[in-house]
Amino acid sequence: MTFSEEVLMAYADDELDASTRAAVDAAMATDPEIARRIARHKALRGRVHSAFNKVLDEPVPARVLEVVRSHQSAPPKGNVMPLRPRQVRRWSWPQLTAIAASLVVGVIAGRLTLMRAGSPGPFMTRGDRLLAAGALAAALSNQLAGEQSPANPVRIGVTFRAKSGEYCRTFALREDGGLAGLACRAGDGWQLGVLARAESSSGGAQTYRQATSTLPAAVVAAVGERMAGEPLDQHAEAAARGRHWRP
């Protein structure tokens, strides 16, 4: 006996009436393929459910609780709560450090959109750190802000010395939907400090050209927090490259 995918799905969801369910049970006993298809539906159900269950453990934000609580204590009539303006998220440096530590998580999640299958991509992980790779690493090591063309896959923005001494550079990727970020020299590599979408999501040359002036707020905040003194001018930038970005 054959069953439609909808029937097997309903079996997995415990939505079948008793007689159809019995028929599926009987078929399953002789056909492992039916059991396999049902197991697949159950596995997806379990996977989705348990991932979203984590939300139940999060604290409910005060602004949401406040809506209901203020209603409880308020006079019963004519009480309309204004919707609060959406909070703009501002990152402090400790938060950004936490973000950097978990950057790899975002990259994995973003893989669906960001990375074409099979291409090496601009990032790699080493331990719990996210490092620049491929064309991004090459651009960070070699490209000078004053000597780049729109044909370059990476646009370098500002270069500066961090308070802790190392050189850091902002960048924007032309591919991968206009990601922009900050990378700082760590040994022979470049460690990603922050990574965000460039301001315009329309992509293309426009975004690319304006990449330095429209760095995402998270990147700008990270630069502000890290920078000691002023950004490097072109001579200092070339000199730093000549020393292989050693402090």
Partner: protein, 168 residues
């Protein structure tokens, strides 16, 4: 309203974690999801007299949230599909807050489903509602819900099997 209004507030507070979970399967990030929950609570309290006691409060609230999500409009979701500025940083922040890579991965996949399939998956797989309850919230016959759910699940299966898998 009197004491029944008080009861409703208590019930809404009790259901807030579930409303947040449901909203997270529709909105792309935690902020937008909580905006939806907030709007839902406001509308429910403002329309407490429309609640029919023979229905479940949860189903009623899910319906309000679903409508709020639809009201938010397609233009907004079109924008979201391209990812808003700072969205990635925000979502990385969500991940840092402990939601986990698996959740982000599933949210990303759900966001690619057509609205009606996404709602069906959200109500049945995320919220664990019965087909009948989910169909009633979506105002469609059970058969329609079933076929949307089947199509949504199939699309989800193929998207998730393409991803290389997320380390625990």
């Amino acid at each position: 309203m009197g004491s029944s209004g008080e009861d409703l507030s208590d019930q809404i507070i009790e259901l807030l974690p579930r409303l947040r979970r449901f909203a997270r399967s529709l909105a792309r990030n935690a902020q937008d999801a909580d905006d939806l929950v907030q709007i839902t609570a406001e509308r429910a309290l403002a329309r407490a007299d429309q609640f029919r006691p023979d229905h479940s409060v949860a189903g009623w609230l899910f319906g309000i949230l679903r409508n709020a999500w639809i009201d938010e409009g397609r233009s907004r979701r079109r924008r979201e599909s391209l990812l808003e500025p700072d969205m990635l940083a925000e979502r990385i922040g969500d991940a840092a807050a402990g939601s986990g890579a698996e959740l982000l991965c599933l949210q990303e996949a759900l966001a690619r489903l057509p609205d009606d399939q996404r709602l069906a998956v959200a109500l049945v797989l995320v919220e664990g509602l019965s087909y009948k309850e989910a169909a009633s919230i979506m105002s469609v016959p059970v058969g329609t819900l079933t076929s949307r759910l089947a199509r949504g699940r199939e699309a989800l299966q193929s998207m998730l099997s393409e991803t290389p898998g997320v380390p625990p």
